[in-house]
């Protein structure tokens, strides 16, 4: 296969990393990167932290590769939303019937924040946090809000927004339908420690209760949230931290296999000449022996590079390498820096390996049979990183945690 033109769809962390990696591997063909956004998307982690808190200028929240677009000889096309794709002919269709064909395609369209209801049915004052505009709009409303903030969902982004707003002095209620925060990814004792952290800082954390409706006041602005148990929580501003859905609408009818993202093999290949990376990629991770889709910053970099290398391997006839990964991410809440290596589930056994659960510094390892599926460290960065390195060698419990 001749690789004269590669089109990367998505100019955020995964897409730009993939583009840079193609060049670093020595490929010098026509490199097009398209994104629906009118400007290069911001680096997202600060959006629920420093940018929302006002301690980081929005210009500082930029993509790590933003300065290297020219040097990398990237034909960057912003304001280009892709609306259709054919996996057979690699035809990329834009909104105005304009088309582009490519020899290789890297899908890096990330994910979209989930809204609690169709947007036009929601009162003013309801937000999500995914883009720089989202973060600035929320900040502007919080700066002038007279009343409390209600956060729907106690996942990582919801919990960060709650922490940032609480630190700024707002009254905050956080509502989580599951019995504990972060229940999908962490065993309940750990979620309970996160709930306690927020309560200790004065957040009203309500778990095991969903929301029934988001209610508008006379002026059409949000006034309260009604919970599934009938109680009513006053709200001047509402933030939905309900998770994100992979951005795959543009791929319907493309011939690619879809389902919780773009379904790839263990090498990130989705179809001949098509690879995927970042939040949108669903692949079989050989390290864990399971399919996963990972919405984490470092994963966007790791998988971005792997998707580029995979495409070149196909073109060059080299043997494809599986993308074996131990995911790693961080989350900042108050003075706690949480870091997690691995991919535990809510059903794994939690074993405290350092300090005391919920203390200022501690670490917990997650056990499934004789394997360690993850290590969560609170203000123990060294331990998190050492654990990650060990996990890349072997997940055997004794190897990661010591007998």
């Amino acid at each position: 296969m001749d690789l004269e033109r590669v089109v990367v769809v998505g100019a955020s962390l995964a897409g730009l990393t993939a583009a840079a990696s193609l060049r670093e591997q020595g490929w010098d063909g026509h490199l097009v990167v398209v994104d629906a956004a009118m400007e290069l998307p911001a680096d997202r982690p600060p959006l629920s932290k420093q940018v929302l808190a006002g301690t980081m200028d929005s210009a500082a929240a930029r993509q790590p590769l933003a300065d290297r677009i020219d040097e990398l000889d990237i034909d960057l096309r912003l304001g280009h939303r892709v609306e259709g794709f054919g996996a057979d002919d690699h035809r990329i269709k834009f909104f105005n019937d304009h088309e582009l064909t490519a020899d290789g395609v890297i899908v890096a369209t990330g994910a979209n924040a989930r809204w609690p209801a169709p947007r036009d049915e929601l009162p003013a004052g309801v937000h999500v946090v995914r883009t720089l505009e989202d973060s600035l709009a929320l900040k502007a409303e919080l700066d002038t809000a007279a009343g409390p903030l209600v956060v729907l969902g106690a996942g990582f982004i919801g919990a960060e927004v709650a922490a940032t707003a609480r630190t700024a002095g707002h009254d905050v209620t956080m509502i989580e339908a599951a019995p504990q925060p972060l229940a999908r990814v962490l065993p309940s004792e750990v979620g309970a420690a996160v709930a306690k952290l927020h309560r200790d800082h004065g957040v009203d954390v309500r778990v095991g209760v969903g929301f029934a409706s988001i209610d508008a006041g006379p002026g059409g602005r949000v006034e309260s949230v009604t919970l599934s148990d009938g109680s009513v929580v006053p709200a001047s501003v509402v933030v939905a931290g309900l998770g994100a859905d992979p951005s795959i609408e543009w791929l319907s009818g493309s011939g690619l296999s879809l389902g919780n993202g773009v379904v790839c093999d263990e090498t990130l290949l989705a179809a001949p000449g098509v690879t995927a990376a970042g939040d949108v990629a669903n692949w079989f991770n050989p390290t864990f022996g399971e399919r996963m889709r990972v919405e984490q910053w470092d994963h966007a970099i790791e998988s971005g590079r792997a998707a580029a290398v995979r495409l070149l391997a196909e073109a060059g006839g080299d043997a494809p390498q599986p993308f074996a990964s131990v995911p790693w991410f961080w989350s900042d809440q108050y003075d706690r820096k949480l870091q997690m290596a691995g991919r535990p589930s809510g059903n794994d056994e939690a074993v405290v390996i350092d300090g005391e659960l919920g203390a200022e510094r501690f670490a917990v390892a997650f056990r499934r049979g004789d394997r360690c599926t993850g290590v969560l460290a609170c203000n123990r960065p060294r331990l998190a990183v050492v654990s990650r390195t060990r996990m890349t060698q072997s997940l055997a419990w004794d190897h990661v945690v010591g007998a």
């Binding site: 790590p64 470092d298 790693w328 961080w330 870091q339 060294r382 990183v385 050492v386 390195t389």
Partner: protein, 63 residues
């Protein structure tokens, strides 16, 4: 190769240490120590990798 850390940006999350422990060390006091400010060229790929994956973009490589 000379390495400079922007300590105003660095938040000691130890990502760099995971990639190049010969050069970067985050100790139990939660501070990052540069073990080698002028590592040899054999370490360049690892140091470049660490610079790229630093979530705060706090590692500068001066050639």
């Amino acid at each position: 190769m000379k390495i400079v850390i922007d300590y105003d940006l660095c938040e000691s999350n130890a990502v760099c240490m995971g990639i190049a422990p010969e050069v970067f060390d985050v100790r139990d006091d939660d501070l990052l120590y540069l073990l080698d400010e002028n590592p040899g060229d054999d370490l360049r790929p690892k140091v470049e990798e660490a610079a790229r994956r630093c979530p705060k973009q706090a590692i500068l490589i001066q050639d």
